[in-house]
């Protein structure tokens, strides 16, 4: 009897010390609860593997009427390897919670979940996606920036005026997944190497086969696949919180 009591006591002690440890890491207590969580900014960023995203992720918690809730607890979770600073936060006076995100070391899409509890303590979740580029895609991005972006990106900046509006036949922006996902790697290789006429398309798309190497063109295609929206099948897995999300 006595021995059993001692063993029980030891277990109880161990248990309590463990639980105290894990509780000390948890952050502030929510003072309010929302009904919905929406993205303010920070989704769909493209960066290198392991990199801190240039912009933080900002989400907003709203109540049933759609107005912002202050003091709701937002928790950010993702696949192992993704880190958040901070991982839990209370919404500020405009109902927003902000976190800085570093993506994992594998190239691919990372699913970021931001969740909060509603009044009945049910979890409300918002899923965002961020894109991490590996070596090949990074190389592709650089080639895109140097050669392709000026015509294929409709947005103008001070440093890089877009040529998109000047072209009679409009080029496809590289994130235009609906169109580009349907094209096979062989088609993309053909049109980049031999120009638009290779696929009976406009000659305004010049042939790059004498300028870019085969591996350059592969890298470019890897980049195009990586940034496609909706995601391309050949871009590899999506890393989500528990396991790999299936398509």
């Amino acid at each position: 009897m006595k021995a059993q009591a001692v063993i029980l006591a030891v277990f109880a002690l161990l248990g309590s010390s463990c639980s105290r440890k894990s509780h000390s890491a948890t952050a502030p207590k929510p003072t309010a609860f929302g009904a919905a969580i929406v993205e303010s900014s920070g989704g769909k960023q493209v960066t290198q593997t392991g990199d801190l995203l240039a912009q933080p992720i900002i989400v907003q918690v709203n109540d049933e009427q759609g107005s912002a809730v202050t003091g709701a607890l937002v928790e950010f979770t993702a696949a192992p390897g993704v880190s958040f600073d901070p991982a839990v936060a209370l919404t500020d006076s405009s109902g927003q919670a902000t976190t800085n995100v570093s993506l994992g070391g594998m190239a691919g899409r990372y699913q970021i979940a931001a969740s909060t509890l509603d009044k009945s303590h049910k979890r409300v979740e918002l899923k965002l996606e961020e894109i991490a580029l590996g070596y090949q895609q990074t190389l592709g991005r650089r080639l895109n920036d140097q050669y392709c972006d000026r015509c294929h990106n409709p947005e103008s900046t001070v440093e890089r005026v877009s040529n998109y509006d000047n072209l009679e036949v409009k080029p496809h922006p590289f994130d235009e997944g609906d169109t580009l996902n349907k094209m096979s790697d062989a088609d993309l290789t053909a049109i980049i190497t031999n120009g638009g006429p290779a696929l009976q398309k406009s000659a305004l798309m010049p042939a790059w086969g004498n300028t870019l190497s085969k591996s350059d063109i592969q890298a470019l295609i890897a980049y195009i696949r990586a940034v496609a929206d909706p995601p391309s099948r050949s871009a590899g897995p999506i890393y989500a919180q528990t396991s790999v999300a299936t398509r």
């Binding site: 290198q48 593997t49 392991g50 990199d51 801190l52 240039a54 390897g81 800085n100 570093s102 994992g104 070391g105 594998m106 190239a107 691919g108 590996g134 070596y135 090949q136 990074t138 190389l139 650089r142 080639l143 140097q146 050669y147 000026r150 015509c151 001070v158 890089r160 005026v161 877009s162 040529n163 509006d165 000047n166 072209l167 406009s202 000659a203 305004l204 010049p206 042939a207 790059w208 004498n210 300028t211 591996s215 592969q218 890298a219 890897a222 050949s234 590899g236 897995p237 890393y239 790999v244």
Partner: protein, 680 residues
Amino acid sequence: MKEKLASLWQRLFGDSVRAFGAVSVIFLLSIAIAPAKNFFSEWRHYQHGYLRMIRNRSDANTLHRHFQPGIRQIWLPGLDVVDRCTSCHVGLNEALTDVATQPYRKHPVIPHKLDQFGCTICHRGQGAATTVAEAHNSTLAWEQPILPAKYIESSCGQCHGGPLPGTPRLNLGRYLLARQGCVHCHTVNLPDGSTMKATDDPPSLSHIADKTTREWIFAWLKDPQAYATTSTMPNFKLSDDAARDISAFLIANSTPIPGDSAAPSAKASADPAAGASLYGESFCASCHAVQNAAGNVVGGDVGPELTRVGSKVKPEWLQGWLQNPRAYDTETRMPHYRFNDAQVAILSGFLLAKTDSDLLANVHLEPPTSEQIARGKRLVSDYGCASCHEIAGVKKPENFAPELSRIGSKPIAQLIFLPGMQHTLPEYIAGKIKNPRAFSPGLKMPQYTFTPQQIDALTTALLSFNDRSLTLPSSLVLSTVLESNYQPAGKAGKLMTDLACFSCHRINGHGGDMAPDLTWEGSSVQHDWLVQFFKNPGTLRPALIRRMPRFNLTDNEVNELTDYIMTVYQSPAIDRDSMPLSGYSPGQIELGKQLFYGKYSCQGCHIVDPKTDKGYIGPTLTHVGSRLTPAWIYQWMKNPQSLRPGTIEPSRAMSDEDARALTAFLISQKGEGKQEVAQK
């Protein structure tokens, strides 16, 4: 209890036969431990897992055929590599793009073959180990754990000295080491035998009293970023007393510029509109940044930020500087603009109005005592100011800070970590860059204002300087492209130095990258065009911000420069006189036009007819016939990359006939009767 044990003993070892049997069994069991340990090893477990995983796949047969059981090993004696990683990472070379679980993931595409370089050259870790813990983590016998993926580009830098297109993080890190002046204090000897050189340009402090006040120096020393957010000068966290003494010493130590006694003849004039327009026309913003009303710093980073320059410089100094910067600093990257007195007055008035009343509001310094000046001198040598700045009477210290040539293999036992810090080398390096004084308040390393991305980049670059990089076989050392020390000769050469052409242009491997490389400019352009361009430069590309300033050159100077460029900067691949400027047949010109608008669709990027063409990317070609030489155009059509590596214009592998017809069409575009496209 006792009796039971005794009877067991009796049964096992009761007589000699029993004892022999029992001992044999124990002996056999103990011998079996080794094979059993081998049988239950981790790699076998992972190989079984792999076989289970591929069993139901459609490509199971191929995968089975490729699979080789047992411990696998990549052995590269020349590189000192024995990597058994592929014993567990079985699918590295397979096409398992949909498998995300380790250790079965396919290796991402890289330019090297895995069996040529192994794994640990890039990933670190203990290659010969056959358990996860020993291979991946730090052990007593092996210090270097697996490198976190975010620093992986450092491994490329072990062999590749130059910037690579696929390693932006490494490139940025190396750029910052030079640009932020880290290598002024820290020596970095590179594997190719060269030493890393700083690319910032810290000013000489020997004549600083001519330029600014002691009050400004005090405020600057206390917080350089309060004066200019983009400043590369770090914060030394000096006490008020230290800043007071150093500023006292620098002023007392300063001597006037010899031969610069002539007072500037101009007086600052307050005409903000004229000032702003002269500042714009002179393209000051190409090199100097200014913080705008929205708080963004806009402009180049070749020269210092000018947001608060009026609170810094003395008016007489500024006027002298604008008249001829080389009189104060012979090495400056600022061109000698040849402004007239009225222009100097307007521009200096405009710049002097850029003040910040808060900057010096709380700086009140008593006249210095000789003790303070002496203490200032001591502080200057304590903090190693002369590592970066030239200071009369203070010698540049040798090896002021620890050498970093092998920092990427520094043993962890030699590092002191902060509480709560992961005990790894990358964490240490990143932590040290982020907040050096946290490691000890007595450290001299100053505080920089790096972003987290910059810290990752710097850490990546530093990790590439390691034992392996310095002991590679020489065939694997791919050196950096070193800046040449090309200097143009003669009168024109002096003029080019005076105009600081090399601050923006590159010629024969020397100079900046802001403006076009001029190495073969003499083969490219026509004499008369170049003369006109010097007199009134314009941009050639509608989509580019014009940067070439007008230097108010005399006709003599223009001719001197033009003649030199036309004669000396010739490409051996181009014979300028091999093709005529005129006399092409209308048929050939017409064919060229058809090729331009049809087969090659050049109008996508260029404008020949401003009424119909809209191409924004390449140079406007309305006047190209009076700008470029036909031989250059022809060679450009054949292979633009051979003339200007990295140009956006794709190489089209044109036939000689097509290239000749396009040359004929383009050379007929002399701009006669055409309106120049509105310039930005």
